[in-house]
């Protein structure tokens, strides 16, 4: 029997960590992810897990220690947010190129500056090209489920990539949700033992990890990473299917909400999808054929799936909780529009930047974005550039 509980997102991930009982966790506290290393330290002190907790002196060290530990053959995790993730930057790329399936709980928070502790996606969106798989949760339940699945995805022999399991800081990480948990033994059986094919602490086989690449090798190793990221698509679905058999909860790359006959669509990531679903319901009640696509897996990017889902809509609002200062929109806007090219030729698209630095996103804000879609369809305007939603003008 599954366990009915009420937990915050941070508590849910920590609960999952206790169940997985990973070998090593190097971490440095930063709001709003701090609770995770705090809870794990308590589990260790209580003797509930035998994870080696390494209280490192910075996030650069946290990722460096994670790389060393995972290369040694230990299942390794860490958690961070915002500037902590930024301080890991250099080593994020090394973890990916060394093909080390570290699992990082990213509790999304705005990146300085100006300094701000609240939620947006500027931290993990900035790391989108680092070679990590990125999975985003809408609520604590998804944070828990995504986290458990991350090990199986990253550690799969066809993938061998690090995984960032993301959830929205405070909104998801600190708000308490109803949640259904698995029994400890079921999680342990699902995740299994970590048995890497090669590791540094194997006395029978010498190994060097992360050597210098001359011009003759660098590009081939990048291609290997690209292939691994492509392979991850099948593995993510296979793992989700197995997880569904265990829990009854179904996961894919995207979640489609009322998209079957939708004329106006929204593409969004994270907790705001919950708000947007309410907005869709209200619009539907008013006779507007609104629908929603929640992007759960952002890397690898499910471009084909999103484009196929948008093919028959009149207009789409692509919602970015991160600036990219490209002057043409945010990162999700760029990826979705690139995926639509040649497939959704008659679909108008507006890219909105919203919710930066914890700016509240209400049902009315979402409805306002849908209103702008109706307007461009009515006037047959061609939207250019991108817009800020919920900014004082």
């Amino acid at each position: 029997m599954a366990i009915r509980e009420r937990l915050s997102g941070n508590e849910a991930v920590s609960y999952a960590i206790r169940q997985v009982n990973p070998d090593v966790m190097p971490a440095f506290p930063i709001t709003p992810s701090t609770e995770i290393p705090q809870f794990i330290s308590q589990y260790v002190a209580n003797g509930q897990i035998d994870t080696i907790f390494v209280p490192v002196e910075s996030e650069h060290s946290a990722m460096s220690a994670s790389i060393g530990s995972e290369a040694a053959g230990a299942r390794t995790i860490t958690a961070t947010s915002s500037c902590g993730l930024a301080l890991m930057w250099e080593m994020l790329y090394v973890a990916a190129s060394c093909r080390l399936p570290i699992v990082l709980a990213c509790i999304n928070r705005a990146l300085s500056g100006p300094i701000n502790i609240n939620n947006d996606h500027s931290d993990s969106m900035g790391a989108r090209d680092a070679g990590w798989i990125q999975i985003y949760a809408e609520n604590a339940q998804e944070a828990y489920d995504n986290y458990i699945m991350s090990f199986r995805i990253g550690e799969h022999k066809d993938v061998l990539l690090p995984v960032m399991a993301c959830q929205d800081g405070f909104i998801t990480s600190h708000a308490v949700d109803n949640i259904t948990l698995l029994e400890d033994e079921k999680v342990k059986a699902f995740v299994g033992e970590y048995k890497p094919e090669k590791c540094l602490l194997n006395p029978a086989e010498a190994l060097s990890v992360g050597p210098y690449d001359t011009v003759h090798y660098y590009m081939e190793h990048k291609k290997q990473q690209a292939v691994a990221m492509h392979n991850a698509k099948k593995v993510i679905l296979d793992v989700a299917k197995e997880y569904e058999e265990l829990t009854g909860r179904k996961y894919g790359f995207i979640e489609k909400y009322k998209m079957e006959d939708a004329e106006y669509a929204m593409v969004i990531i994270g907790s705001s999808a919950g708000t947007a679903k309410d907005a869709v319901d209200e619009l539907r009640a008013q006779g507007v054929k609104a629908g929603l696509i929640k992007v759960r897996v952002y890397r690898p990017f499910p471009g084909e799936e999103i484009a196929a889902a948008l093919k028959n809509v009149k207009a789409v609002a692509i919602m970015d909780k991160a600036e990219s200062f490209s002057d043409i929109g945010g990162p999700l806007g760029a990826d979705v529009r690139a995926s639509m090219f040649g497939v959704c030729n008659n679909v108008k698209a507006i890219n909105f930047v919203y919710g930066l630095g914890g700016r509240d996103v209400k049902v009315d804000d979402i409805k306002c974005a849908f209103g702008k879609l109706e307007e461009v369809v009515k006037t047959d305007a061609i939207p250019t550039g991108y817009q800020y939603l919920g900014v004082r003008e």
Partner: protein, 101 residues
């Protein structure tokens, strides 16, 4: 140097799928198989008639380009000599010359 080269099937013409994941190197002691001599722009030359076999040159070589057999140094291993000139600098007996290539 009789070690087996576990990486012998990997070379500069190998396709990406034939390389180890992330460029991992299997086995140990295989830097010998990586020839760095082509980096050289100046070459030390051994002058055996001036050499007193003091072996001062051997430990200062940053690579393994001065082979020692039975306590005596031999000619340079040009596959690995990068031409840094340190051996030339430490030799007190003019037993090494150093010339631009």
């Amino acid at each position: 140097m009789a070690k087996e080269n576990l990486m012998k099937d990997i070379h500069e013409k190998s396709a990406y799928a034939d390389l180890t994941p992330g460029g991992d190197i299997y086995g140990s002691g295989n830097s010998h198989f990586f020839n760095t001599g082509e980096w050289r722009t100046a070459t030390p030359v051994f002058v055996p008639e001036n050499c007193k076999q003091c072996l001062l040159c051997v430990p200062v070589c940053p690579d393994s380009a001065i082979p020692v057999v039975d306590g005596k140094r031999g000619d340079f291993d040009y596959d690995h000599c990068k031409g840094c000139g340190i051996c030339f600098k430490v030799c007190p007996f003019k037993a090494i010359t150093f010339n631009k290539d």
